[in-house]
Symmetry: C2
Subunit: 195 residues, 2 copies
Amino acid sequence: MARKQGSHSDITGPRVRAAALRLIAAHGCAAVSMRQIAADVGVQVGALYNYTPDKQSLLFDLMRTHMDELLAAWAAQDTAGNAMDRLERFTQFHIRFHLPRTDQVFVSYMELRNLTPDNFAAIEALRHVYEDALQDILRAGEAEGVFAMADTRVATMALIALLTGMNNWYRAGGRLSIAQIEAIYWDMVRKSVAA
Amino acid sequence: MARKQGSHSDITGPRVRAAALRLIAAHGCAAVSMRQIAADVGVQVGALYNYTPDKQSLLFDLMRTHMDELLAAWAAQDTAGNAMDRLERFTQFHIRFHLPRTDQVFVSYMELRNLTPDNFAAIEALRHVYEDALQDILRAGEAEGVFAMADTRVATMALIALLTGMNNWYRAGGRLSIAQIEAIYWDMVRKSVAA
DNA sequence: GTCTATAGCGGGATAGAC
DNA sequence: GTCTATCCCGCTATAGAC
């Protein structure tokens, strides 16, 4: 795969990000060298710097892209309706979006510590937008009288943790289909906030 | 705090582990140098190697100690009884044990990637013992007819993720007391697996 | 048990040729 | 756009003095 010379800018950029994502998810940002990323792509280390000014920017780019895609996908999915239906849609959306993105989820959570303060604040702001989307649904359900929680904010965090936890055990090709996983989690989510 | 000479072995050992735990939780194992740990303790880097053969062993020691303490504490807490009572005790225990150990929880989860294969297997085995303790309670509740889950194994993982998620937002001195947090989570746990 | 000093290595990032 | 070569730095771990 290694090339000696030549220009391949249109494909190298995405390959750099893909390699960085996979390696950082596997070993952690601080444990992965730019040389390793370059070797995985099949270029020399100097070539990476055509695509990122430094390692920090590369990490931040991966995390911001993930959050942007998450929020855009949810914005396209959320619609009006009663709170129960919206919560079911959120549950299904969260599972379908995150299940095929184990590396992105892992990196976006585990590497927050390695962001500069400014970059950290930017990612946290995007994360809060997503949390607020769920919290709005829960509050609407309380108003409708279909949900009852001892604390809505804690319930929001708890549900996201519950759902995202599936990335700890899910492996593609396992005994459960995506539809089964959705059904299992929806049963728990629905009951946990039931009035 | 820095000392020039002298012997302080009885207190330096715990201080090394405490500094390593705090710094690794804050920045990640790969991002923390032995020099930083030594500086935090107030010794020179060479002195650390009186307490650990290498960095990997230091990390493993932190994680194994945490898991050993967790399993010992739960073994002392679990008693016979009906499944509902046992689940409530588990929920309360999990919260009370983990809330004051944010660094340990963080490290034990985030640094699994940085363990050697043998060390990883050892920690995973201990983690499975804890998961199985909860799963036993859920199965007992199914047999009693008080719990109903679409999938008991997934429910086990989901409940642990739900509960452990509190470490993502809890800060000492916040608006909620430990008793309130226990009540909030117990309400969700109880309902989520209710028959 | 701790110190100082250092070996040996690998890291991020850059310069200039092609 | 990529390569090769390199600068400069910090890392883990060890050796030997006190």
